[in-house]
Amino acid sequence: MSIQIASKEIKPLRLNYAHIARRMGGDTKPASRYQEAVLDVQPTTNFHYPPTWEPNKQLFDVTRTAIVMNDWHAFADPRQYYYTSYVTARAKQQEVMDNSFEMLEKHGLWKTIPAPILDVVRKVLIPLRHYEYGANLNNQDICDRGYGAPITSLASFNGFDRIGMAQYLSRIALLIDENEETTLQAAREAWLNDANWQPLRHAMEDTFVLDDWMEIMVAQNIVMDGFIYPLVYGRIMPQLANQGGGSLLMITQFMSEWYDETVRWTNQLMKVISAESPDNAALLKQWVSTWTNRIEQAVNPIATLVLGDQASETVASVKTELLARLAKNGVAV
């Protein structure tokens, strides 16, 4: 006797929610989880009460930035992060970082790092935890006042990443001080009072009070990060590694990976917004040129702490790189 196994297909009447189907131009194929998580999640109507702190605006208001978009969902995160994919990706990276820290601690690897290198770490790397914390504030602010779920969700994830990186930096400080808080306190003191750090701190605190959230986005996530990350994790850390601080690369690995990942969405964001209208492109250009000039000045003294007379040359090369990248994505300064 032969058994015939027949398969019977039951076609669902609908593949997607109606608002997603409208976005996708028809109910022909199922949306990805990312699309379901962000598309048209932004509340747009029926705001009964204006916020008491800003009575001339709605709770969610497109006019909180001078950038005008016909459709705030035109941008999509190329990494397609929604809660699950974000958390899974970060959990994996956290595991790797944890292992690296454990290994350095268990085998006393950090003790092989020459003292002058540790000194640079104390002076330049650890104060950046305050930078990361400021970047967290800026990104949560974008999430709060921004518009368009693809952008605000990404800003919120970005903010959490910054807290994580501030914690990694604290952990490095505790590691090299054998759980004393000397470096943590010295770093705080440097961020607050050391003349070399003041221009950066000043610039950062000025971004806290910007009214336009998209300008914060440009100033923080594109320009400031565009200087700090390639400079510190792209130039200074490899140099320290060559001088005997190789194990430092293991415990700052997340930061360099994170920046490579961030560049992908900032590029995409600039491309989409500048392509929308010449007005948008002009505005982005203006913000980028204002902030690059300011930040270039601000990071120079910090670079000088490590690189000496090669500092301004190195910072200039970082700037050229940043501007070239932005020019490729529609923001030519």
Binding site: S7, K29, Y81
Partner: protein
């Protein structure tokens, strides 16, 4: 004519999605048959995907070998490298 035919069958899951989307983009002539739980992709002569497009669809750097996690069946001669995967008849 039918000797020229090649096909790939994937499970219809979130993991296979970047491969299916890349196949859709890179092989406009291929036909896509969504069956219960799986997707059958038929092509004449060749079906090809590149790592670049798959990575773009997935939103991260992909290893093309990840396709075997969701691949159900295929027919054709495989030609693969780190940067592409193709099946054809020769």
């Amino acid at each position: 004519m039918s000797e020229q035919k090649v096909f790939l069958i994937f499970q219809d899951t979130a993991d296979s999605r970047p491969f299916i989307e890349a196949l859709e983009q890179e092989n406009p002539a291929a036909t896509f048959d969504y069956q219960p739980g799986m997707v059958r992709i038929d092509g004449m002569g060749e079906l090809k995907i590149t790592r670049e497009v798959v990575s773009e669809k997935a939103g991260r750097d992909m290893d093309l070998q990840e396709l075997h996690l969701t691949l159900v069946s295929l027919s054709g001669n495989i030609d693969e490298d780190d940067d592409y995967f193709s099946i054809s008849r020769h």
